[in-house]
């Protein structure tokens, strides 16, 4: 353990000796400062609740758990009497529903719709509580035009629930408690807000509910005006808070910042092992009472630790200042710390192998960066191929394409899936389910065990070959 700690400390000293790490830390600090310069001003409660409840027409069956949703425009939701209460708000939610005609009857004015079936609000509650039923996927064709995907298609697209049939008895059977549960569920779904709901008597097809929310405005769905550079520029005018945070955390920090951090991390750590293997230095290391494989693995872990610390500083710092500035403390973004470090571990294993064989930092750097680029391209090809295979399963394709894509996916580390894991965690933590369905593509599989398992095997294989090479060489 003492040796391990000593080598970790040595790697740390080596890392902080160069200017690159200070440039990297400076960049991280700058990003944190930029994040700290952001302000999130919540919309006025009247306006905010109005915006939130207007989205209640969007229904996610299975009590909000379905992958598909329905947009029932027959119901109009609005609010009244919004007042602060404790840490939350008290308000009234008004629903104007429409009667559903079930054929026609002869009335005083001749042939009139038979309104005995019920109304659209009861239908919405019924659909929200029930099974998803049939769906239709709206995707894009090969030219990028919207199209209805074939039944059972697993390609890209958004799933819409087809109208479900309900009998008048079923609609009449919808209770007040179920309606209250629906409204409560809609607050969770569309705003990430918990509430207690009580129905107030009102002549149907109008409905009124007294709602008491807990918590303030720092919830996913509350509209906020986001400004940057201490109010100089407006980023988003009254967008849901979660959407803005998602934009910053996923798009800006994870995709661009993460890529940059991986790149700079690879450059800095590419020197660790070649420096150790330099003539005059390697003798000193190998003559010490530590096995060669152990030494190499410790050096590798030293590189990872460095990357972990830099990632933790950057991601943790940005998460913290965003949470302080917005008041939204969801920790999902912190998943990026271990997953980015793990992604780096995959690339650093390549770097270690190249460095051990060639003893050249430049070769280690170029090949590991090249491998990262190759993995990015391969990930894009695979995603594209999988989508086409799902959308157009009957189309004939050369067998070698499937062999290359599936074989490559089985053998190569799962860099794309690792990225998806971060993006989904960020989306889960910031976006409401409907926002997620629109903003984040979630059909691409990223199974945890396979993603980490295959990548770990890759790391093990690379390190195993490196250790074998290092152990049998004369220096």
């Amino acid at each position: 353990m003492r040796t391990f700690v000593a080598i970790l400390k040595d790697s740390y000293r080596e890392a902080v000796d160069g200017f690159v790490v200070y440039a990297m830390l400076g960049l991280s600090a700058l990003l944190i400062l930029v994040a700290a310069s952001m302000s999130f001003t919540p919309a006025e409660p009247d306006k905010a609740f109005g915006t939130i409840v207007r989205q209640f027409r969007v229904i996610v069956p299975e009590k909000g758990r379905s992958r598909a949703f329905a947009d029932d425009g027959r119901n109009t939701f609005s609010t009244a009497d919004v007042q602060p209460s404790g840490g939350g708000y008290k308000l009234r939610v008004l629903v104007k529903a429409q009667q559903i005609a079930s054929g026609s009857v002869v009335g005083p004015n001749g042939l009139e719709p038979n309104l005995s079936k019920g109304d659209s609000f009861r239908a919405a509650v019924f659909q929200w509580r029930g099974a998803t039923g049939d769906t239709v996927r709206i995707g894009v064709d090969e030219k990028g035009n919207p199209q209805i995907a074939k039944k059972g298609s697993k390609g890209k697209g958004v799933d819409f629930v087809l109208p479900t049939e309900s009998t008048p008895d079923e609609l009449r059977a919808v209770t007040d408690a179920q309606m209250e549960e629906f409204i409560k569920g809609q607050f969770v779904t569309h705003a990430g807000m918990s509430a207690t709901v009580t129905r107030v008597p009102e002549t149907e097809p109008s409905y009124v509910f007294d709602v008491t929310t807990t918590g303030g405005s720092a919830v996913q769905g509350w509209p906020h005006t986001a400004k940057i550079f201490f109010g100089t520029f407006t980023l988003d005018d009254e967008s849901p808070l979660g959407a803005t945070l998602w934009l910053v955390e996923d798009v800006v920090i994870n995709r661009f910042g993460g890529t940059l951090a991986l790149l700079v991390g690879m450059i800095i750590t590419a020197f660790f092992i070649p420096n150790m293997l330099r003539k005059g230095s390697v003798d000193l290391f190998i003559s010490k009472p530590i096995g060669r494989a152990q030494l190499l693995v410790y050096k590798y872990i030293g590189g990872l630790t460095f990357m972990f610390l830099v990632t933790a500083f950057t991601v943790g710092g940005i998460w913290f200042v965003l949470a302080v500035r917005s008041g939204y403390w969801n920790p999902s973004f912190l998943v990026a710390i271990p997953v980015l470090t793990f992604t780096f571990a995959v690339l650093y294993a390549i770097s270690t192998l190249v460095a051990t064989v060639t003893r050249s930092a430049v070769a280690a750097m170029l090949l590991s960066v090249g491998f990262a680029f190759f993995m990015f391209v391969f990930g894009q090809i695979k995603a594209n191929y999988d989508e086409r295979r799902a959308n157009f399963p009957d189309r004939e394709r050369p067998a070698w394409q499937a062999t290359v894509v599936d074989g490559g996916n089985d053998a190569l580390p799962r860099m794309r899936e690792l990225d998806l894991i971060i993006r989904r965690a960020v989306a889960d933590g910031t976006l409401t389910p409907p926002m997620k369905k629109v903003l984040v593509q979630s059909d691409e599989p990223a199974p945890l065990y396979a993603t980490f398992g295959v990548s770990l095997l890759h790391i093990g294989w690379m390190l195993g070959v490196s250790c074998w090479w290092f152990s049998r060489r004369d220096y």
Partner: protein, 323 residues
């Protein structure tokens, strides 16, 4: 149990045979010098002892254990030739790092590091970055790091390289003190004068073969040659001495000095008696000695006259190992 023991040690790098059956033994408490030209196999031998290079054949043991194991390396301190310390360390932090790797506890490190650096004379700069050190300071630091864990065996490859004459003297004195404390030192140096001054035993490697081995006295002694001088004004009886069966001739560069060569089985006593019988007064009589450098040069010349020629030549007879 010998501290170092190699038996018929061989190392081959592809077609090149760097060590051709080297057998030597270093006992506890000795300062053992290893001499040889560049490429003679000295560093390869040291690297095999430390496990940096794998042996091809034969046997190498340190302190009774197979050479190069992690366990035995714990008992060895090593200063490599042309070492490159990580320049991001200070002298202190480097010692701390190596001390940790050797398993020296933190408290002991805090105590020993300043002491060891004081011993080699760079304690005043121990918190400066190594990149600011002169070559001599780096060399002293190298010696300090080899000593700090109190190793039983200290292997020093060119320890005085880059060190000024005063520093060399200090290092020699340090080695003597270490020897007195019971440490064994295996020294590889080109500075033959230093080796002669401090080493108990010396081995000369030539093209991978051990060609001479023995104590410094044994190697530098010139058997059967004496130099003598008579009192001023007295003539040396060359003919009478020749009649006794001895070859005597004046030393050209030292007027008055006569060199007498003894044949196998002869002693100088009959010559001394002859001079006394003739009433001649002997003022100077000393058995001829040669410097280690002379021995080395002769050995190397006989093994390989002229270092620039690369073709294989007849070598001197190896002491250990097979031809």
């Amino acid at each position: 149990m010998s501290v170092i023991e190699t038996v018929n040690l061989r190392k081959r790098y592809g077609p090149l045979e760097a060590l051709k059956g080297v057998s030597l033994r270093v006992e506890k408490g000795q300062i053992y010098g290893l001499l040889g030209q560049n490429g003679a196999g000295k560093t390869t031998l040291i690297k095999i002892l430390l496990g940096i290079v794998r042996l091809t054949d034969g046997e190498a043991r340190l302190l009774g254990e197979p050479a190069g194991t992690v366990h035995v390396r714990r008992k060895v301190g090593y200063l490599p030739e042309d070492h490159q310390f990580p320049t991001y360390h200070t002298g202190y932090s480097l010692m701390d790092f190596y001390g940790s790797v050797y398993g020296v506890p933190a408290d002991a490190r805090r105590k020993k590091i300043p002491e060891a650096l004081e011993l080699v004379g760079i304690a005043g700069r121990m918190h400066s970055k190594i990149k600011t050190y002169s070559k001599g300071m780096k060399q002293r630091l190298g010696i300090a790091q080899a000593l700090m864990h109190e190793p039983e065996l200290i292997i020093l490859d060119e320890p005085t390289d880059g060190v000024d004459p005063m520093g060399r003297k200090e290092i020699r004195e340090l080695m003597s003190r270490l020897k007195e404390k019971g440490h064994t030192i295996f020294l590889n140096s080109h500075l033959l004068g230093e080796v002669e001054l401090i080493c108990d035993r010396v081995a000369i490697l030539q093209r991978g073969e051990l060609v001479r081995e023995g104590t410094v006295a044994e190697l530098t002694k010139q058997k059967g040659q004496y130099r003598l001088r008579l009192a001023d004004g007295q003539a040396f009886p060359t003919d009478a001495v020749a009649a006794l069966g001895y070859a005597a001739q004046p030393v050209a560069e030292r007027p008055g000095l006569i060199e007498v060569a003894l044949n196998e089985g002869q002693t100088i006593d009959p010559v001394v008696k002859l001079l006394a019988d003739r009433g001649l007064n002997l003022r100077h009589l000393v058995e001829n000695k040669q410097s280690l450098e002379d021995v080395f040069m002769k050995t190397v010349e006989s093994a390989e006259p002229g270092v620039d020629r690369k073709k294989q030549r007849r070598g001197a007879r190896p002491v250990g190992g097979k031809d």
